[in-house]
């Protein structure tokens, strides 16, 4: 978000998903660091359909995915070398005069600085850093430079690096350089991985902004909210999740309230997270399951699932949509908005909300980009913010005419190495991601009969050459370890990964990739480098031993019930 805010003035997806349905000859989809068909399947399928109609597809991914099979050019880069690759693409575009000269002159700034940096990234040099042949870099640049429209899509493959912000700005530079902003079928489009990440950001669940990205450090903003809420708003910027953990270590943070999250599986270096959350004096967890995090809490509050409450979600394309109550929650569970308002009232602050609509009304009065959105309107339509007035139709495409910050800014960046690279002790590189059947820490999907069997346990992808050197065969039980921990899982020997690279998910509590990942963060956003760390792999057991018999599934903290069906009755293959 930070990267795009700097270059364009807003961190959200610039364009709309439906535009993919209209893409064809002359249009290009540039997908970088997104395994779209697994993580956003509906969008991934729309991309493939566009390709079938004649659109070009360029994919940047260290790993073979469904998208790479459909790509005109697949740039198989070394994880973490994105900036070098993107700068080299810009280099080739500039060298051939494919840049959007008129757009650059009218609507951008800092172009000359960017040109200086890009000039240094010769494709042959970038090839050495990225492992991508120079000819492929030139092919990709030609397609981008000569297409009528280029829509760039990315996800965490771009952001979860110590150079995450630089990566995003390098992506943005390509869009600005080629004038692919502010029109249909173009744009810089970060796809959000969770149903309401966009909404949580929009609502000010961030330490530096109030709802609608209104900066907490601005006096007029604080005054506005102080007037509406009847109390002073603290001026000092708050702590991010990683800084909260540090604050616990230092004894400065005494209490943590965790609402609908499971950092004991979703955050890097789980052992460190656990150490901190066990140390904090008061840990409150509000969730629907006794997650790994809830198990170590002092107080646990039972919330409601999405089907048990009313409200709204905001999707990745800034689209606000209704969530409707279909069933009653079990036992004493309550909708989370009700729990929060009752707790607020218990602390002596007025909070007499009887329905989420009343909360939405309060919020939209204070949030200009949501001001024209109401439950009444959402009955008949879904609206994309900014939607400032009751008769505003919503905004499918941002930055039409000019960018939100006035002029789009080129922000050149140089390539930096990831924080932790393979060495003698930990000779392989680990990258992490998702599989289509599962979601995040698996607390929901592993409890679904139709999904669990599709991918019942962690399968670590390892290249045949590496497997042979370690005497590992497909289906063997292996150990993967890093400086932070060790997990056991099953080997999947495949050319989907390059030699030297292994791939894991973080869906499986008993084999979580986040036992291994590194907490090293991007210096601006504090997004951790989940996509690169150094690991060692060794064989533990050959197949034939029933995995359930080895006890390796039980040794961790798998919640009761997750494995009560015989999902492991067949040896993996």
């Amino acid at each position: 978000m930070e990267g795009l805010s700097t270059t364009l003035g807003s961190g959200a997806m610039t364009n709309s998903i439906a535009e993919l349905h209209t893409m064809g000859p002359g249009d290009t989809i540039f997908a970088i660091g997104t395994n779209t068909t697994e993580c956003h399947p509906i969008i991934g399928i729309a991309m493939i359909k566009a390709v079938k109609r004649g659109a070009k597809l360029i994919v940047v991914d260290p790993r073979a995915t469904t998208l790479t099979q459909h790509a005109d050019v697949w740039l198989r880069l070394q994880p973490g070398s994105d900036v070098a690759l993107l700068n080299a693409i810009a280099h080739v575009i500039l060298q051939n005069g494919w840049e959007a000269t008129e757009y650059i002159a009218k609507h951008t700034e800092n172009f000359s600085e960017f040109k200086k940096i890009a000039a240094r990234y010769f494709p042959y040099k970038a090839a050495e850093i990225t492992g991508v042949p120079a000819t492929l870099i030139k092919d990709a640049a030609k397609i981008i430079g000569q297409s009528r429209n280029v829509a760039i899509y990315y996800t965490m493959g771009v952001t979860q690096h110590t150079s995450g912000v630089d990566n995003v700005m390098a992506v943005s530079n390509i869009a600005v350089l080629t004038g692919n902003i502010g029109r249909a079928k173009t744009g810089v489009n970060p796809l959000r991985g969770q149903n309401n990440v966009q909404g949580a950001c929009d609502m000010g669940a961030l330490p530096d902004v109030l709802p609608g990205y209104q900066k907490v450090q601005k006096t007029d903003v604080r005054e506005k909210f102080a007037k509406a809420w009847g109390v002073e708003i603290p001026e000092e910027q708050g702590l991010t999740v990683p800084s909260v953990l540090d604050g616990i270590e230092k004894g400065e943070v005494k209490a943590v309230y965790i609402f609908g999250e499971n950092p004991l599986r979703s955050d890097p270096d789980i052992n460190h997270v656990k150490h901190c959350l066990e140390k904090v004096e008061l840990l409150i967890v509000q969730d629907i399951f006794l997650t790994e995090t809830a198990q170590i809490a002092d107080v646990v509050l039972p919330g409601a699932a999405f089907a048990e409450k009313d409200g709204t979600f905001t999707s990745t394309e800034r689209r606000v949509q209704r969530v409707r109550k279909a069933i009653e929650p079990p036992g004493q569970c309550k909708p989370d908005w009700q729990i929060l308002s009752e707790l607020i009232a218990a602390m002596g602050y007025p909070a007499a909300y009887s329905h989420p609509q009343e909360i939405f009304e309060e919020m939209r009065q204070l949030t200009p980009s949501y001001n024209g959105i109401s439950y009444a309107r959402l009955e008949n339509e879904s609206l994309q913010w900014p939607c400032p007035t009751n008769d505003h139709p919503g905004t499918p495409i941002l930055h039409v005419g000019s960018s939100i910050r006035g002029k789009a800014r080129f922000v050149p960046a140089d390539f930096r190495l990831p924080a932790e690279l393979p060495d003698k002790e930990y000779p392989m590189m680990l990258t992490t991601g998702r599989v289509v059947a599962h979601y995040h820490t698996g607390t929901m999907t592993r409890r679904c009969w139709g999904l669990r069997g599709v991918a019942p346990y962690e399968m670590v992808e390892i290249h045949p050459e590496d497997a042979a050197a370690l005497a590992i065969e497909d289906g063997d039980q292996i150990s993967v370890s890093s400086r932070r921990g060790e997990v056991l899982a099953v080997a999947k020997v495949t050319t989907r990964v390059s030699p030297g690279l292994v791939f894991m998910t973080f869906h499986y509590s008993e084999s979580s990739g986040n036992m291994l990942t590194n907490t090293a963060c991007d210096p601006t956003t504090q997004t951790p480098e989940l996509k690169v760390c150094a690991v060692a792999v060794r064989k533990v057991k050959s197949p034939g031993v029933h995995l359930a018999d080895t006890g390796f599934l039980q040794q961790n903290t798998a919640p009761e019930g997750v494995f009560h069906q015989p999902a492991l009755s067949n040896a993996p293959h």
Binding site: E236, Y257, Y353
Partner: protein, 133 residues
């Protein structure tokens, strides 16, 4: 049977779907095809990913740790316990001693209330969520 139009709880694409409900139980999911980003389609999670709602592992009561064990408690007891402890920390060490992790899984209204509670009631801007992840 009742059909309720709602939004999928998984990734951020924003697919809309109908939950088909019988006896307070979700029996089937049907993709929405009118004005929807998914145009009548759903992925495996959208189609087959709703069992968790009815899992026997669901929490059903507030729990407070007593003598090392998480023990069932009433809502009133839980609210009073949390309220007194949080207000005590806020009073003694200031709002900065309290942090909240909000939820990218929950609704806009709930996220709004979470940050309002942290800022307006406890005096802390330390509210964040897993957008960084």
């Amino acid at each position: 049977m009742q059909q309720v139009l709602t939004t999928c709880p998984y990734c951020g694409s924003g697919c809309t779907l109908y939950l088909e409900v019988e006896d307070n139980t979700i029996v089937r999911v049907k993709p929405n095809s009118v004005n929807s980003v998914n145009e009548g389609a759903l992925c495996s999670k959208g189609h087959f990913g709703m069992d968790f709602v009815h899992s026997k592992d669901r929490l059903t009561s507030p729990l407070i740790r007593k003598n090392g064990e998480l023990t069932k408690a009433s809502w009133e007891e839980a609210y009073n316990y949390i309220a007194s402890r949080l207000l005590q920390y806020a009073g003694e060490f200031g709002g900065k001693s309290i942090a909240g992790f909000s939820s990218a899984r929950c609704t806009n209204e709930e996220n709004y209330l979470m940050q309002k509670m942290m800022r307006a009631v406890l005096g802390s801007n330390s509210v964040d969520h897993c957008a960084r992840l």
